[in-house]
């Protein structure tokens, strides 16, 4: 087994071990130092597991650098891919199918851990697929998770008690709910989540992705519903899981199509497996080594895609079916990444403790949808990509508009997360594969930073989350405020563009990570809009939203940290968080600043770029995907526009929330209807309630009633009929059959009684009878019988 695979597998399983130990924390913490609810052991264990995982992932990443011969600096050569694309046009399907994908220059390691089942030629297993994307994701997830675990040690500290008071919950007698703390359980769930998330990233086949997809879903359910006593929390948890299941429904349809059409779930052929048959995976089947999809037209003018099956034979799949498969898989991504129209669960998910929001609902799990869309990119056809792009565009705009009016600090961040995920989806849909995943990584850092900072604020303000009650907090909690500011600047993409001063090439911009990644996305969008003018909206939406983003993020920061305190009592009791919480903030702030250093010539971009699958346009789809060289042409223009818009947004926020010029309250009054509409989150929840939730309950009661009334009714009718028939049967028995038998018996007796008179006992009479009888018989036989015969 490859050393990277060993390291990552260990990093993946470590949190599971942690979970297995911590979940019984309620038992062993009796004996732990400090007593039952006082011990921090569970937290240390959990931090140790994920921290160990980080070290292993980092080692694997470093090994991967040399194994995959990755260069960290400099812009990649764009010339070669064009040559390949030119060459690929002339390629016949047959030649492409028979071409083996040699291991020598493979940029990935794939192998199998164990088999779940094998039916004939179908094999379903736990596999791993490691390329530079996997390595980067592993490192990012474990690093952020470690920071958040450490932060949670401080954040969840009030759970370390035997008598935790939940101020959100009132019991029947009006007092607050008292319950034992659940410190260890929180860390157990976190560890389980880390295990699931890492498994998702490590997965070597789409089925395994689905397994861990569901597992992160249930971890999310458990963590959102961590405060099980709060009805809002458990409802939000249910909503999150069920809405995700709606997406997974599509995911399953995608899986069904893939397994029946391709006969395998594997991403790619194994190259790290001693006895593995060299059968191609989905990626190799859907596109040949030049990124070409072989579309052909059958005799009945149906478009099909030709590919080589694992057994070497060539076969085909209808074009629409592969589109459906792609849309199905993407439906799963929509659910997980809270994209339109399934975005409604994520804001509600903020019911969970803030570290959960930071880890699960901003940095990792929700990004898994984007990750999968990126991972599965080679299988997506242009129609699917277009759907992805439009979904992303709609999402990023809708979510940003809601964020503008939200007042709960975490909800603003939640909508901002949805919006940013929309950016990533948009990028992937536009063919800007690296840009999307680049933004995924940078976003993970600055968004988890901001969530943790908001957590720090929430703890500092004693679980107050409404921004209108805050204000001026930067004096009380400087570390939080300024690390948060780093995050805000990063997400807005503000920068000092030095290269405008020094000329286009050379010289770096003084910018935080978000600038580079958002720049890459906007540049891709602009290029795309130029290549496909009909889809210009896909450029306008992210551009305008960049301004809105800057506006609401600065609004958040000004609202919370700048100006004068709006609630003096809250302000007076407010305090900076302990060091266990601020150090993770500082670390994350560092990464939020510098993780994308160098921009598109920097190490992160190059690392991700090494995993990019080159795809060529599909004939007949009518969509030109931008190439790297196309994008390079528009890069400067896009960057300028984006920066301008973001600057305007930030300025507007400054004017409105620091200068009160114009006064936000006035604007709110003037646009009351719009404001209401946005506060109501575009009324998606009401719509879904009317469209789906209530009908389901109605149908459920119908079915239940059908059982009770119709099916059981029929049954009871049959039973009653049976009873009635048997009653008739009894009557017939007693009235007819018994009566007739009795009648025969009675008559017989009557005859006997009437003959009694003959039985006189007189001998002489009997003799007379005998004589008469003989005479009668004689007459009968000899006189009448012959007469009878004659007749």
């Amino acid at each position: 087994m490859d050393i990277k695979a060993c390291l990552l597998t260990t990093a993946w399983l470590l949190p599971l071990v942690g979970f297995a130990v911590e979940v019984f924390g309620g038992y062993w913490s009796h004996h732990a130092p400090g007593g039952r609810f006082k011990s921090r052991l569970a937290a240390y264990l959990s931090v140790g597991c994920i921290g160990g995982g980080f070290l292993l992932s980092l080692t694997a990443l470093l090994i991967g650098l040399s194994d995959f011969e990755l260069s960290l600096w400099g812009t990649p050569e764009h010339g070669t891919e064009h040559a390949a694309a030119q060459f690929a046009v002339a390629d016949t399907p047959h030649a492409a199918g028979s071409e083996s994908h040699g291991d020598t220059d493979a940029k990935y390691v794939s192998g199998s851990l164990y088999e779940l089942a094998r039916f004939g030629n179908l094999r379903i297993a736990i596999d791993y697929y490691i390329d530079s994307l996997t390595l980067v994701m592993f490192t990012m997830v474990t690093l952020i998770a470690t920071c958040i675990h450490v932060f949670a040690i401080g954040y969840m500290d009030d759970e370390r008690t035997e008598d935790h008071v939940d101020h959100e919950v009132h019991t029947a007698d009006g007092s607050h709910l008292h319950r034992p703390g659940r410190y260890y359980r929180f860390f157990a769930y976190l560890s389980l989540f880390c295990f699931s998330m890492l498994g998702l990233v490590l997965a070597g086949n789409i089925f395994m992705v689905f397994i861990f997809w569901e597992l992160v879903g249930i971890c999310s359910y458990l963590l959102i519903g961590f405060y099980v006593e709060r009805h809002s929390a458990s409802t939000a948890a249910n909503k999150a899981f069920i809405v995700n299941r709606v997406g997974d429904f599509g995911f399953i349809i995608g899986l069904m199509i893939l397994i029946t059409s391709f006969g395998t779930f594997n991403f790619s052929s194994y190259n790290d497996h001693a006895n593995s048959p060299e059968s191609p995976g989905l990626f190799q089947m859907a596109r040949d080594s030049h990124g070409q999809v072989h579309v052909a037209e059958t005799n009945d003018s149906q478009r099909v895609i030709n590919f080589a099956q694992p057994n070497g034979s060539h076969t085909s799949i209808p074009y629409w079916l592969l589109v459906t498969a792609g849309l199905g898989i993407f439906a799963g991504c929509v659910g997980k990444s809270a994209q339109f129209p399934l975005q409604t669960w994520l804001p509600d998910a903020m019911e969970g403790p803030t570290p959960v929001s930071a880890l699960v609902h901003s940095a990792t799990m929700v990004a898994a949808g984007v990750y999968l869309a990126g991972r599965f990119f080679p299988v997506f056809l242009p129609e699917v990509l277009l759907t992805i792009a439009y979904t992303g565009a709609i999402t990023l705009f809708v979510a940003a508009t809601i964020a503008v009016v939200a007042t709960d600090i975490k909800r603003v961040l939640a909508y901002s997360t949805i919006s940013q995920l929309g950016y990533m989806m948009l990028a992937i849909g536009l063919g800007g594969w690296i840009a999307g995943l680049f933004h995924l990584i940078t976003h993970a850092f600055f968004k988890s930073l901001m969530f943790l900072a908001s957590g720090s604020v929430i703890v500092g303000c004693h679980h107050e989350q409404e921004m209108p009650r805050m204000g001026g907090l930067r004096k009380k909690m400087p570390v939080t405020a300024y690390t948060m500011l780093v995050g805000v600047i990063a997400i807005c993409g503000l920068a000092i563009p030095l290269h405008w001063v020094t000329g286009f090439s050379g010289g770096w911009d003084i910018a935080f990570s978000g600038y580079h990644s958002k720049d890459a996305i906007v540049a891709t969008a602009l290029t795309y809009a130029n290549l496909n003018p009909i889809h210009s909206l896909l450029f306008l939406a992210p551009l305008i939203t960049a301004g809105i983003t800057a506006f609401y993020m600065f609004r958040l920061w000004f609202y919370t940290f700048a100006g004068k305190p709006r609630d003096q009592e809250l302000y007076d009791h407010c305090h900076e968080s302990p060091r266990v919480m601020t150090i993770p903030l500082v670390i994350l702030a560092f990464f939020a600043m510098f993780c994308a250093i160098g921009g598109e010539g920097g190490p992160l971009f190059n690392l991700l770029g090494a995993s990019e699958t080159h795809v060529t346009d599909v004939a007949g789809s009518g969509i030109d995907l931008p190439t790297h060289s196309d994008i390079a042409q528009f890069h400067g223009q896009a960057g300028m526009l984006a920066l301008l818009v973001a600057g305007l947004g930030a300025l507007l926020a400054y004017l409105m929330y620091c200068r009160r010029q114009p006064d936000p309250a006035l604007i709110k009054r003037q646009f009351a209807a719009t404001h209401e509409f946005l506060v109501e989150k575009w009324r998606f929840d009401e719509l879904y309630d009317v469209m789906f939730v209530r009908p389901v309950h109605v149908v459920a009661s119908w079915f239940s009633g059908f059982d009770r009334r119709v099916l059981d009714g029929i049954l009871h009718w049959i039973a009653r009929t049976g009873v009635t028939v048997s009653a008739w049967d009894r009557k017939f028995d007693e009235g007819v059959i018994d009566r007739s038998i009795d009648w025969v018996a009675e008559k017989t007796q009557d005859v006997g009684r009437s003959l009694q008179a003959v039985q006189t006992g007189r001998l002489r009479q009997y003799v007379m009878f005998i004589a008469l009888g003989v005479v009668t018989l004689f007459v009968l036989i000899f006189a009448l019988f012959p007469l009878f015969l004659k007749a």
Partner: protein
Amino acid sequence: MDYQTLLPSLIIFAPTLGAIALVLMPKDNEDSLRYTALAVTAVTFLLTIALLPGYDISNANMQYVVKADWIPNWNIYYQLGLDGISLPLVILTSFISLWAMVASWSITKQIKGYLILFLLLETGMLGVFMATDFFLFYVFWEVMLLPMYFLIGIWGGPRKEYAAIKFFLFTLFGSVLMLVALLMIYFSSSYGADGEHIFDLVLLADAAQGNGLLGPDLQPWAFWLLFIGFAIKIPSVPLHTWLPDAHVEAPTPISMILAGVLLKMGGYGILRIAFPLCPEAVYSGSIVLVAIGVISIIYGAFAAMAQTDFKRLVAYSSVSHMGYVVLGIGVVGVVSVDGTGSDYWQMGINGAMFQMLGHGVSSAGMFFMVGVVYDRVHHRNINEFGGLAGKMPLYTGLAAGIFFAGLGLPGLCGFIGEVFVVLSAWQFNKALAIIAASGVILTAGYILWTLQRVFLGAEYKGPHEEALIPMLGREKIVASVLLVFAIILGVFPNLVFQYMVPSIEKLTDGMAGRIAGGF
């Protein structure tokens, strides 16, 4: 006699011997009665485990074959055997029986009679799974019926008589149909040079897949008679209404057996008898099977969502989950006449078999969990629970695990079966496959909603709050064992698949050959 031939009979009749021993024991010492019965079920379980070392995984044929004359005039034999289809179910039976017996500690009324009937029931169940003679199968099938009737009718809840009679009549109706089919098959069979009629299922299957057993006019009749008989047991919509009543009224351990084992007999019967003996009828009727399966999935899930009785909800979830079994075995239609696609059918049948095992563990667990809380507060109204997570944390943890297994969460037993079945269905019929897949949303809906109403929330809303004491040691053991097995099955499904796959491959290959040959 070596142990290979002795072991199967020993397994079947060990509970009977135990029952006889119980008859002889005094009835006032209840604990010794209980421990004896427990020891008997434990020994039976160990005996079934002892089957494993001698079982050759790679051999798809019947193993542990026993054949003795019983009624030789009519070629009826006492004939037992195990293959990859029956072995897992035999182990499931003894496993669930053991834990149901542990759960029986809460039974206090007429304990001696209860235990004797329980053990007789176990004999019947094991016999059904091990008999390879159709007549013997039928006899065991009926043997199992009566103890169940009394167990529900005497130890049940308020409407026990109604439920018991409903159960009995439904099942009897099915048995009668099966009897008709049995006779049809018997009189159509001809074996050997002199064309004798036989009941031997293995030989009948060979005949059906070789030269054909029943003609095209008779075969659909035989198949549908058998199918209705078995579908009642599964139970499939619309023949399912006995199940909620039987479950609601039955005592907890009997619900466990009912859901964990009895329902599996329907699926097993279809796989063991209806399929191999009527391949052509199966093939032409597969769309109906799949449709029934899908309807059961959706119908059961919807009906479960509307329930307010905790046990009734779990019962409807069984209807929904067993729908996957019918769906999985019904995808025989994917086999095209040239023999391709049988991989997906294998996947479907294996998924269905796994679903039976997984459901055996998870539904028994769910019923047990309902029983635990019912024993405390004596009501089952879901809307009058809440807050159990705070009062009984361990119970809540274990119950959540088991309910998640029912929800089909990966890593737990419910997932593997469901997902394989659904995946296999696409090739057969896309629309039905999509409807079946939508079941995942409904399942999540009703299970999570139930969890929320029962376990979560601030306060317990029903009566007898003071009775909500933490789980007893006995209860902890049952629940943890079931959960652990749910996890093991979910993480390492190949442990079971390795036994099932060869035998199922033999079945599918045999039938596919016959289907390819046509009538």
